[in-house]
Amino acid sequence: MATTEEIRAQLAELVNDVAGVPVEDVQLDKSFVDDLDVDSLAMVEILVGCEEKFGVTIPDEESKNLKTVGDAVAYIEAHS
């Protein structure tokens, strides 16, 4: 089982790959939209990337609740 930090670090790489955000900026308290400037279409790509990377399923109706990096990491921890 990956640690919270390991999940955050892998997620940071994904966010960097899709949206070009520096990995060090992808911290648990950051909002994808407000802090990291990730738009809605990039967010879809990131969440699909999470499904592939972490083996979780993130239903469309759940994705709107994942506002911060911490939300996404917690979801992945709970469902992987």
């Binding site: 790959d17 949206a19 070009g20 699909v48």
Partner: protein, 419 residues
């Protein structure tokens, strides 16, 4: 009528990553065609193409490129060159009134790689793997829309689609917009990126593509008796055009004038040209009339000249029909002998080449013309560049014809030129 001048040029082509290198290689008679080394080509009958000389991945940021089809990436590269060449800062503060700035930029096919790659993802891994950017990447107006966003154009952004005549039609539309007073300045041109197994297979099944796989540089040979089809190319060429008044008011350098355009439709067959050449010659005649010129004014024709067995013969006849005895003093060339066929990017690249030929008074060659068709009644710049008259006014016609029977001719001149 309002005079429309050309004030900025840009290109990324199989001959170079910018216009200067493209033009130098064109004058030198360099072929941009090469063997396709990717594995997918092994089973295809056509294993040659003309890739852009500088891959867009070397220029466009990786994250940005993820959201842009290759056809749009090429258009943005050429548009940035043209916009900068016209004296503006790319993605800078508004330097012209956005409400007086238009874009007319074509693609013949659209975001083919984005469409097919996402279908591959869907079929192989399921719908969740389809990129949410697929639609804005594949739509045919994506190159125009992205250039419009970059230059902040608010006077309308357009994408005429007429297969291989598309970018000449885009130039014609831009000319009309400026003449009608709907804008003062426009970014016009075309782009295409379709070197992919599907179009190579599809055009191959039509017997439209050269299969001279063992001699890529010799494969595109317009009017040569050994020709056996066109060579797929890719790339983009873009022009900034504006009213003479607007150009003078801002002190812009001027390459020349877009004097007129002529458009006809064959209404004969979906893919074969009307063998009488009525539609093709009609487009040239209309373009001359629109320019207020006669055949005596024309010194150069940059032909559509794709290197197909029937198309080249029909066009040679059409040129003589349109220009009559004045054909005798016209130097004809097909730069597709070097660039391959850029489909929706072809007309724009060849309009730019026509203009450069007038500027340098030098027509680029039609390479690989070693065994010409016997009864061609046109004078072709075979294998080496050919000088134009050293002094005086010069005018050239650029032809583009497309599947569907579309014929578009553009007339450019060296009137008003300051460079």
């Amino acid at each position: 009528m309002t005079e429309i001048v050309i004030t900025g040029l840009g290109a990324t082509t199989p001959l170079g990553g910018d216009l200067a290198s493209t033009w130098a290689n064109m004058l030198a008679g360099t072929s941009g065609v090469r063997a396709i080394t990717e594995e997918w080509a092994e089973e295809l009958p056509v294993k040659i193409a003309a890739y852009v000389a500088v891959d867009p991945s070397e220029i466009i940021d990786r994250v940005k490129a993820r959201r842009l089809d290759r056809s749009t990436q090429l258009a943005l590269i050429a548009a940035q060159q043209a916009w900068t060449d016209a004296g503006f800062e790319w993605e800078g503060e508004d330097q012209v009134d956005p409400h007086r700035l238009s874009v007319s930029l074509a693609s013949g096919i659209g975001g083919l790689h984005s469409l097919l790659n996402n279908w591959d993802a869907h079929r192989d891994k399921g719908y969740r793997r389809v990129s949410p950017f697929t639609i804005p990447m594949l739509m045919a107006n994506a190159p125009a829309a992205n250039v419009g966003l970059a230059v902040h154009a608010k006077a309308g952004v357009h994408t005429p689609v007429s297969a291989c005549a598309s970018s000449n039609e885009a130039i014609s539309l831009g000319l009309d917009l400026l003449r009608l007073g709907r804008a003062d300045i426009a970014v016009v041109g075309g782009t295409e990126a379709t070197i992919h197994p599907l179009p190579l297979a599809a055009f191959g099944q039509m017997q439209a593509l050269s299969r001279r796989n063992d001699d890529p540089e010799g494969a595109s040979r317009p009017w040569d008796r050994g020709r056996d089809g066109f060579v797929m190319g890719e790339g983009s060429a873009i022009l900034v055009i504006e009213t003479l008044e607007h150009a003078k008011a801002r002190g812009a350098k001027i390459y020349g004038t877009i004097a007129g355009a002529g458009i006809t439709a064959d209404s004969h067959d979906m893919v074969q040209p009307d063998p009488t050449g009525e539609g093709q010659s009609g487009a040239m005649i209309k373009a001359l009339q629109d320019s207020g010129m006669t055949p005596a004014d024309i010194v150069h024709v940059n032909a559509h000249g794709t290197s197909t067995p029937q198309g080249d013969l029909t066009e040679a006849g059409s040129i003589r029909t349109a220009l009559g005895d004045d054909t005798d003093h016209v130097v004809v060339t097909s730069t597709k002998s070097m660039t391959g066929h850029l489909l929706g990017g072809a007309g724009a690249l060849e309009t730019v080449a026509s203009l450069m030929a007038l500027r340098d008074r030098l027509v680029p060659p039609t390479i690989n013309l070693v065994d010409p068709e016997p009864d061609l009644a046109i004078d072709i710049a075979a294998n080496v560049a050919r000088p134009l008259p050293a002094e005086g006014s010069l005018a050239a016609v650029n032809n583009s014809f497309g599947f569907g029977g579309h014929n578009v001719a553009i007339v450019v001149t060296n009137e008003n030129a300051t460079v």
